[in-house]
């Protein structure tokens, strides 16, 4: 598990989501990256059930339950700004039992799917973010496997991102800032995906650009 940067790629002018994804993957192949299967990250939102809320009408915290095909045996449960729990996939069954406390928000499931590419020690995943039937955006994940401290290799990652994304290069993910020289963990990647999904949810739905 190396240091990972997840970012959103805006849809190219006059192109659909699908076309932009194709442009990106073509660029990767031109760089010399090799296709290595597919990936999927999904996220479901739960909110605390009304019965368990305090009488002052305080808003319930949102909890996100996520899966990452890179860790097929794990399930991640996160609060915004809060702790991240890494559990076995059985956790999903537990959530059904906890219906009285956590209720799944309707049609909240959001996921990104796409192809994995390997380039030297970099792992690049370009995915189409979908909510229900519609494509809502593009996610770009770049992982540098050999390094485990985010601040050590951010400049190096940035150089790769600049080569790959040009003017669309993102800034340093916020999780990097809080980590100092701690070892990067898979949970940090999930937090980045959660933030990305939340950002995309808030964005206006792209009018026509569905999957062709």
């Amino acid at each position: 598990m190396g240091v990972t940067c997840v970012s959103q790629m805006s849809v190219a002018e006059g192109k659909s989501v699908q076309q932009t994804v194709e442009l990106l993957t073509q660029k990767l192949e031109m760089l010399g990256a090799e296709k290595q299967g597919t990936f999927c990250v999904d996220c479901e939102t739960y909110h605390t059930a009304a019965s368990t809320l305090g009488s002052q009408g305080q808003a319930g915290k949102l909890m996100y339950v996520m899966h990452n095909s890179e860790y097929p045996l794990s399930c991640f449960a996160l609060f915004e700004n809060g702790p991240c729990l890494i559990a076995d996939t059985n956790f999903d069954v537990l959530m059904v039992k906890l219906k009285g406390f956590f209720q799944s928000a309707k049609a909240s499931k959001i996921e990104t799917r796409g192809t994995r590419y390997q380039y030297c020690d970099f792992l690049v995943k370009v995915g189409t973010v979908t909510m229900g039937p519609s494509a809502r955006g593009i996610s770009v994940e770049v992982e540098y496997g050999p390094c485990v401290v985010a601040s050590d290799c951010w400049s190096l990652l940035l150089e790769f991102l600049q080569n790959f994304l040009g003017s669309h290069t993102p800034g340093a993910p916020t999780v990097f800032a809080n980590r100092h020289d701690a070892v990067y963990s898979p949970a940090d990647t999930m937090v980045q995906y959660m933030e990305l999904f939340n950002k995309i949810r808030k964005q206006q739905q792209v009018p026509v650009a569905g999957i062709r």
Binding site: C120, G145, D152, L156, E159
Partner: protein
């Protein structure tokens, strides 16, 4: 054509000289034929003598003529250039079809290599002589108990001394931790952890480093039965590259008389990888080249370079 030939030797004169030599040889053999046949087939003794002398004279004249001719031609042939460092093989450099048959450059290369080989073989033989084990020779007729202690000093340093040297190095570099173990008898194995960047397995023989393998900080360095895994390589290309360079460094840092200095120099060099992912290349100024960070560290200055950016 004429231009090319005039550089070295006059080929036309050469061909003529060769035929002149042939003519000379045949006229000389005619002389001996005539001497061998002697005097015959004439009625009178005087007639026989006269004919023989005339014949002999003719033959000698033609020898003389052919010899003069050869002498004249040999002046035309010209001399091959003499001051070439590789003597006559230097003429290969005059080959006009250099691109197709780069014989001369290959020859120079081979010459350089053989020189280097000789030099290194000299060093190696010096080292080996100094540490001659002569195991098989000594074992003959000597019981295992009374085996003579004729072993070289640098190979039989007491383990305690090795431990001391290593722990002193360990204290020298705070960001580097060295764990020493002896899973296979007296030879030490080190597991060096450099910051949160990489781990190095170092296989020692006394105070000589036999082998090093560099792996990632989170990569597994143990085999299933809990021993240090000294055979498998890293899954990451960057550490495979660093392993190669570390092996080169082992060959570079050689000082048979002072093995502890060698280990210290090697560890000092290794420590410069603490900035493996943070130091841009000192030549091209970039972090990445073909997906790899600058994996080379200069042996003297410890500056970072890409493998292809170093001299």
């Amino acid at each position: 054509m004429a231009d090319v030939l005039s550089v070295g030797v006059n080929l036309e004169a050469f061909a003529q000289a060769i035929s002149a030599i042939q003519a000379l040889r045949s006229s000389v053999s005619r002389v001996f034929d005539c001497l061998k046949d002697g005097m015959r087939n004439k009625e009178t003794l005087e007639g026989r003598e006269k004919a023989f002398i005339a014949h002999f004279q003719d033959n000698l004249h033609s020898v003389n003529r052919d010899l003069n001719e050869l002498e004249r031609l040999s002046n035309l042939v010209g001399k091959p250039s003499e001051n070439h460092p590789l003597h006559n093989s230097g003429l290969l450099s005059l080959d006009p079809v250099q691109d197709k048959t780069p014989l001369y450059s290959q020859l120079l290369q081979a010459y350089k290599w053989s020189n280097k080989l000789q030099y290194h073989a000299g060093l190696a033989s010096g080292l080996l002589n100094q540490q001659s084990l002569k195991r098989s020779a000594n074992q003959m007729g000597v019981s295992a108990k009374r085996r003579p202690k004729a072993q070289p000093t640098t190979l039989v340093l007491p383990p305690q001394y090795v431990d001391d040297v290593i722990s002193r190095i360990d204290r020298m570099f705070p960001e580097m931790s060295i764990h020493l173990s002896r899973p296979n008898g007296t030879s030490a194995m080190l597991l060096v952890t450099l910051g949160k960047v990489l781990k190095v397995i170092v296989v020692m023989r006394s105070l000589f480093i036999d082998r090093t393998i560099v792996k990632g900080y989170t990569e597994n360095v143990y085999t299933e039965d809990g021993k240090l895994d000294i055979w498998s390589k890293s899954n990451y290309q960057v550490f495979q590259k660093v392993t190669d360079h570390a092996t080169t460094a082992l060959l570079h840092y050689q000082l048979p008389q002072m093995p502890d200095v060698v280990v210290r120099s090697f560890m000092t060099w290794l420590r410069s990888y603490i900035k493996l992912f943070q130091a841009p290349c000192q030549r091209c100024g970039k972090f990445l080249q073909d997906g790899l960070p600058p994996t080379w560290r200069d042996f003297r200055t410890l500056e970072a370079f890409h493998d292809t950016c170093r001299q």
